[in-house]
Assembly symmetry: C2
Homo-oligomer: 564 residues x 2
Amino acid sequence: MNLYAPAKQNHSFFEKHRGIIDRAIEAVHKREFYSQYPEMPSPQVYGETAEADQKKLFEGQLAGKFDRLKQSHDTWMKSDEQSPYTQQKLGISYPAFGDVSKYITAAQSAWSDWKKTDAQTRAGILTESLERMKGSFYEVAFSTMHTTGQSYMMSFQASGPHAADRALEAIALGYQEQTRFPNKLTWEKPAGKVTLKLEKFFTTVPKGLALAIGCGTFPIWNTLPGLYASLVTGNPVIVKPHPMAIYPIAIMVTLIQEVLMESGFSPDLVMLAPDNEEKLITKELAENPAVKIIDFTGSSSFGRYIESLPGKITFTEMAGVNSIIIDSAVNLAEMAKNVAFSLSLYSGQMCTAPQNFYIPRTGIQVSGQHVPYEEVQKAITGAVEDLAAHPKAGPAVLGAIQSDMTHKRVGEAMTLGGKVLLESRSINNPEFPNIRSASPVLIEIPSTATEIFEREMFGPIVFIIPTADTRESLQLASDIARKHGAITCGAYTVDGTTMELIANVMAEAGTPVAFNLTGNIYVNQNAGFSDFHVTGGNPAGNASLTDPEFVVKRFTRVQAKVQS
Amino acid sequence: MNLYAPAKQNHSFFEKHRGIIDRAIEAVHKREFYSQYPEMPSPQVYGETAEADQKKLFEGQLAGKFDRLKQSHDTWMKSDEQSPYTQQKLGISYPAFGDVSKYITAAQSAWSDWKKTDAQTRAGILTESLERMKGSFYEVAFSTMHTTGQSYMMSFQASGPHAADRALEAIALGYQEQTRFPNKLTWEKPAGKVTLKLEKFFTTVPKGLALAIGCGTFPIWNTLPGLYASLVTGNPVIVKPHPMAIYPIAIMVTLIQEVLMESGFSPDLVMLAPDNEEKLITKELAENPAVKIIDFTGSSSFGRYIESLPGKITFTEMAGVNSIIIDSAVNLAEMAKNVAFSLSLYSGQMCTAPQNFYIPRTGIQVSGQHVPYEEVQKAITGAVEDLAAHPKAGPAVLGAIQSDMTHKRVGEAMTLGGKVLLESRSINNPEFPNIRSASPVLIEIPSTATEIFEREMFGPIVFIIPTADTRESLQLASDIARKHGAITCGAYTVDGTTMELIANVMAEAGTPVAFNLTGNIYVNQNAGFSDFHVTGGNPAGNASLTDPEFVVKRFTRVQAKVQS
């Protein structure tokens, strides 16, 4: 007997992918290097004609109806999406409901079977959707590139394999937590001469309708973890993409809907709810009492609003002010090159990009030699300039600027105060002459002018802040992290005690630190299965990808006992 | 190298108790019967003279200063505590601060070492405090009895071994979650011809000052889980007991402070913050921005206020309306006896006590025979009457009424409407002639009068609700659980399909169900290590004892990486 027997089961995909799921659970717990989906565009892995085929698919999709979704709808919505590379509208229409409450009703109606299936069924179906995603990595890349302004390479990596790894991580931990305790057992308690005996049954009950709110810069990478975490724990999900980045996640929603249907579940379990400037619908969805779970990536002001909604379980990733603390180094040029790349990558539009550079104004030790502050500053400024001017690397690393607002902010940065060390300029991109671009602006700001540098200046805006010493640098970096949030911190020091100090003070401010990075490894990068992304310990966000909290809050455990 | 090396370690108690902790982690995950602390008063286990010695200690404490606490204080507070058995004040004074913010300052100052020690040190110290608690079980029982009105036996069990088991559960899971992932590793990523290599370090950072708000009926059982969960994850705790039930938890706080001091930590890490009617301090503490975590047991209205405080992580257990659904049975008398005991135990002042009994008005099947509704109702009413009138069992099971308010509520229940089936009366307790007591009142209410029975009537007030059929019974029980919360549900049915239906419908309302209990096992009981207590899935509370969520929300995970 099992009192909580699943009303519907379909283990075929679970049996097929059990190895992947088991390996992912192991990887999450070992936190060693692991990747289920190779991160480079690779004809050998992803198919010889895949890139060309999917480029054609992408081009064919432009200016047309996105008619692959399987969900209910009663109208078509013309999106505002525009390519930062061509500054042309994509002109795509998506299926939609005119009345927002219809998404709620449809997702709720689809829920009953999914709620009452088991973790195996859910994990299998979701893993299958990721396996199929491999067949769409290139289209996902092209659509990411032409909505977010990421470079082609980053679009492939971040929206493709890296996002899929992060989604698999959520499936793995969600599956593991749901199966962590026995689902039935015989409980025998000795009580004097007799033994009391109960049959006990345990089940998990999903919390309810989830809303996944996407952002304009990482429409896949930042949406998949919450989406998959909610689904694997049994909740239906309404995906509300950023109005300027719908296409990439529409592909993913389609894939999940297809596997759901093939497995006998309603495709409305995951619904795309697109909107445009004419009628923004996020608040109406978020405030609906049926919505119990909200995953949000975006601005701090909107994030605080989301967190304040009563009766919701929220997972947020918002803005942060990331720092680089320079105390001492082995090789100045190597350090400069590394941080220049970090701050330039996708024109500083990563939540992990560094903004504030703290350098002692008395200079630093480099391999035992004293190097004055000006020289350190010039090494960084020079490396940024070189990278931006490089005919191949420049456009490839910087990409384009996602929004007009960010572009405007860069222009205005020069008037913030301080001393402009490097002016922003447009990038020469022969492939896309109409690109919206801006190379990084570097500004020197006195360490007393915290009102300027304690704010997140989203985009390629960097502050170089000369400090009294590393102690002041650390104080500023940790204070700002505590007050305004931070997702990453980079530090360079050859001194073990200083390293320990920085690591521990920043840890108390909920901020991870990457030390002495040079070469092809950057502070911006958080590896799936190994690095927790965001700690939840400062105002940059209340959730961490993917720690146990990220999945266990999405369901409750209920039990029954029967005396026999 | 370990970047996050603990600033202070003391593993002596961890080494001593490693076996207990490992066994507890295993028990939590197996959910079989397990108890570290035998539940009966036992001279063999707890000492031949323990009961007499501790009775003397208890009597000597009355009307005096409770001067065993090791914490900072600047005044003494005379408590309002009063024995429900004698209706005399206990007259005890507790060390206190006149200015509430001083608790905050003291606990925060004590934090630094505890924050930076390791999970082993914390788990060892806390387990030692429980081992020492065994030497105070009788004093804890006497003080519980004479503050809450629980019977002596329940006072011993609930405040002693059962509470210690629940605390150990929190230590075990808290320790396990903190050590779940490696704290350091070498991360190697193949990248073409080279291999990228990072040393990675992980640590946990406690969320901050915790506040544990106790209730008047279970001052130990309901306080220890949150208190131990916060401490094991590195947070200091201010214990704000119910003004009428300070003494029992003061003993526990003393024990923890003693072990902390012996281990080189500040006793102010856990502080008793008592209050009385003259100046209630809970809100001032709860609203202080330094307080990050709040554990609360008590009324729904105060609990909703706690849950609504911005920027706090809250764990609540509030009121619920528990049901018994009677569909069919094997033995009418056995069933009646069992539920009569359940509703009478501690005069219905358990959060797990049943309030609403749903019985089909067309009668039920008992071992294949039709039994009319009236007969079922009379069997229950009669069993309650017999138990209350029993010279030995009556006083021992019913105990006393904790508060005047509850006592008044029982008196007023007769005027609620419906048909009074059994009137409440005082209990004859020869040992305590001045006892504040009330036997259960049973009232028949039509199933349409939901406004009467959908409220929690805390205390010995029971509604018998004749329904159209079990389907209506289940509908009412689950609707009320969803709307107003429920912590338990009992059901009697010999039909497997009905059993499944009840289990699943109640599960969706976040309520566990106990089926067909007879003999010495009751719906009120939730076993440590096996039963989750409260699901968090309905308005009766947002937390579950002790699931992973109960511990993981109390800390964050932070990491550092160093390129080598």
